[in-house]
Amino acid sequence: MGAAAVDQDGVRVAAGQESVVDVHFDDQWVWSFNAERDTQLAEGRRIARWPVNLRPFLRGTGQVMVRERFGEQVLFVGDVVFDESDHRVKIVDGQGRPLIVDKGGDMQCGFSERGEATREALLDAIEDVLAKMRDEGGVDAFLAFGALLGAVRDGHFIPHDSDADVAYLSKHHSPVDVARESFALERIMIRAGYWTWRFSAADFKVIVPDPEGGRAIDIFTGFVVDGTFYLMPEVHAEDFDPGVILPIGEIELEGRKVRAPAKPEALLEITYGPHWRIPDPSFKFETPHWVRRRLDGWTRGNTSNRGHWWPFYFGKAGSTVSEQPSPFAEWVHEREPATAAVVDIGSGTGRDSLWFARQGHGVLGMDYIPAATDRAGKTAAAEGIPARFKTLNLYDVRQVLGMGGELAHRDEPPTLYARFLIHALEDAGRHALWRIASLCLRRGGRFYLEFRTDENATAEKVYGEHFRKYLPGDVVAAEIESWGGQIEHREEGYGFAVYKDEDPHVCRLVATWKR
């Protein structure tokens, strides 16, 4: 038995294997794992399973090398057959650039593979974002995490890193005020023309357009509560000395002077621990339970089930959804006037929204995964059909009240449409949906709903098992009535939503909220 074995499931190393292990395909480094932390014991060996996002690339046969990062030992070299196809495994993006598995498990193209124009565009944006945060947002922001680490080590971005991180120390000590400040900063970035995506109430992403399609700058809040310093998303320090960060200094990155914490080395030690100087691409934060619970509770209340839907729409799975309209969309189209404006909540790939628009309806499609709304919006623009798409997170009170209010001010009340949404929501999301309906249907308009009932709970699904809440039609109807709605039509059973090999038991409801 060799020092390591590789198969379709993953990499198996000896039970006593320690430290970081690198995995190469051909001569390309693709992934690293920590042999003790990232593996499970199986049949006397430790197995590191292939990361979920790497798996779609593992088709056909690939030449794999497994070696210790900090030792000389090569643990495995050889061809591995992943399936029967004639493919040769290539871990590259659409433009042929090598991809790596980053610490979040996502496939990324590192800075080392990017052109100078991309790096320059990102540096320009870092300067612009830092200046806007200071001048318009009133916060002293600085380079942090990987960007700071690279700058301190050798004045360059870390080759396998793929985005830039900045942070600031909030002057607020209450999570409420910390969140409000972050909301205000995001508005500044959106008004400056950046596209943003929020990960929690205290960190968000700014997308910088560049010649290669866009890079991200993550903006993390640092704040002190009861003497403990928290830096989103995972860092903390007890008995924190603000002198680590303030007064803001400068550091050289790619030949430019960029704003940096007062003591960069001290912040890096807080961030990555005492061994921060030793490069370790398998690094993962080991966040104490009490820190994670605090940060989850204070800032991450709107992320329900994102772990499933984010990769679904960003990865290849989303493209397997049919482009044909659902039978429910056709049924709604027959019942509504041709001029009815449709608001599709939980629009997913935009399959039904785009079809409504092709029939002449003005459509607003909303979903909480930006890859979904972005792709559907591009299709609508390419076809020149009257559909636009926007992200909407039903767990965010701002968005629920804001969109509900905006829709309520329309000259004509919309036709609300939510297919296969109810069973995908936690209770809070479902209640937010009723709130939107009660706001925007006060002067008329109907709400069309189709969802899996409790009778579908144990049936086999085309897309497998993930979070679904199966409610009986009675319960949903009663809930709508308790929120001030009236049920105008209700039917349930089989044969309404046949999809591929699946015929789920569903309920169709039509509700109004007219006062």
Binding site: P175, A201, R293, D296, T299, N393, Q399, G402, G405
Partner: protein, 93 residues
Amino acid sequence: MQAGGNMETLRSRLRGVVARQGRRVARITGVDDEIRALHDRVAELEREVQESRLLNQRLAELTDVVSEVLVPAADRDDKKLAELLGTYNRDSF
């Protein structure tokens, strides 16, 4: 070494006996039921603490809407309010 090894074996056996007897006593006196109930109670308290922590975020969101939309709405200009809502939704998320 031999004496030390025997002593360690003895200690290990003793720990096993104490643990077994401890569990038996706990079962007889109902202490194990109490420990189980306390485990459940701690889990419940952890859920309750998280529910309370979440209110920070909800309050921040609500305050953002109030300060950005509801306060300017006091002008009672419906057209302006509709524009304001559109701007808020476009610029905030």
